[in-house]
């Protein structure tokens, strides 16, 4: 790996990817409205597969990516991220139509993401580095989840 990048830049990139997620939710929501939620997710994965293949082909052709790194030995479970993502789609498409509605689904989903992220860091699960949370991590967590709850449950939205 090259020089370690400064943490603030990495945090800014992660924040920006949340903006990308907002656009994805908007566009995939347009597809779900025109057809069905299940088809919207299926189309996103299908077109994503095509886009990823095109991007990898272009990078390999330009000598910017080693084709030997497209598939290399890894534990069987490491290949199941797409399964986990598909399960999310199926679960949330049920709960948004329950009494929880979109706001409750979003809020509980954010909580689930953060709780599981903390457990992953605490125990170094999935071969990722151990990184127990400290007091400042928890302060940031409380502020961000409280702010998110205010937005998600804001009246009139």
């Amino acid at each position: 790996m090259a020089e370690p990048r400064p943490a603030p830049l990495l945090f800014a990139l992660a924040f920006a990817s949340g903006g990308l997620l907002t656009l994805m939710v908007l566009f995939n929501g347009q597809m779900a409205e025109a057809s069905t939620p299940l088809f919207s997710s299926l189309a996103a994965h299908g077109l994503g597969t095509v886009a990823a293949l095109a991007l990898i082909t272009a990078l390999v052709a330009a000598g910017r990516m080693d084709p030997g790194r497209i598939a290399r030995p890894a534990p069987v479970w490491a290949w199941t991220g797409g399964l986990s993502g598909a399960v999310t789609v199926m679960l949330t498409s049920v709960t948004v139509n329950s009494a929880l509605a979109l706001a409750g689904t979003l809020a509980l989903g954010l909580l689930g993401q953060v709780v599981f992220g903390l457990a992953t860091d605490r125990f170094g699960l999935f071969g990722l580095p151990r990184r127990p949370a400290d007091g400042r991590d928890l302060a940031a967590l409380v502020l961000i989840l409280a702010g998110s709850a205010l937005i998600v449950f804001a009246p009139g939205t």
Binding site: T22, V25, F27, G117, A154
Partner: protein, 145 residues
């Protein structure tokens, strides 16, 4: 009701689980390759689900071709970059920080998008929410210099 609460929570757990699994796969391959496999596997699972539970995709595909705006077709390609970036970041800033920063960015940009689209926004509540999120983001990123 309890079952729906559990399902929504597990839905969130699966978001972080997916990012951790893709992060592990990207250590062996590359973030873009992990994103490719994430989409291939997800496509296979959802195609099986659509066939078994929803009677195939012919009907919804016809509806989508007829009614969906052009932007509805680019959510998937944007997702390739999103999944690759999550796989790359998780081993560098940790799973909880990645999840928190993505959530922070999603919430703040969501409010901005609603304002831009002229949708009703509860300004006192959403403004206070954005302020708390920005404060939390500042604390999170200033931890290591």
């Amino acid at each position: 009701m309890a079952i729906f609460i559990l399902m929504a929570f597990v839905g969130g757990v699966c978001v972080s689980l997916s990012r951790a699994l893709n992060g592990r796969l990207s250590l062996a391959t590359s973030p873009l390759a992990a994103s490719l496999w994430n989409h291939v596997v997800g496509l296979a699972v959802l195609a099986a689900a659509a066939t078994a539970l929803a009677g195939g995709i012919g009907g919804p595909l016809a509806l989508a071709l007829d009614r969906a705006p052009a932007t509805a077709w680019i959510g998937g390609p944007l997702g390739v970059i999103f999944v690759a970036s999550g796989s790359w970041l998780i081993s560098r800033i940790g799973a909880a920080n990645t999840a928190l920063m993505v959530i922070a960015g999603q919430m703040v940009s969501g409010v901005a998008l609603d304002l831009l689209r002229g949708l009703p926004v509860d300004l006192p509540a959403s403004g206070a929410g954005v302020a708390l999120i920005v404060a939390g983001t500042w604390i999170a990123q200033s931890r290591r210099g």
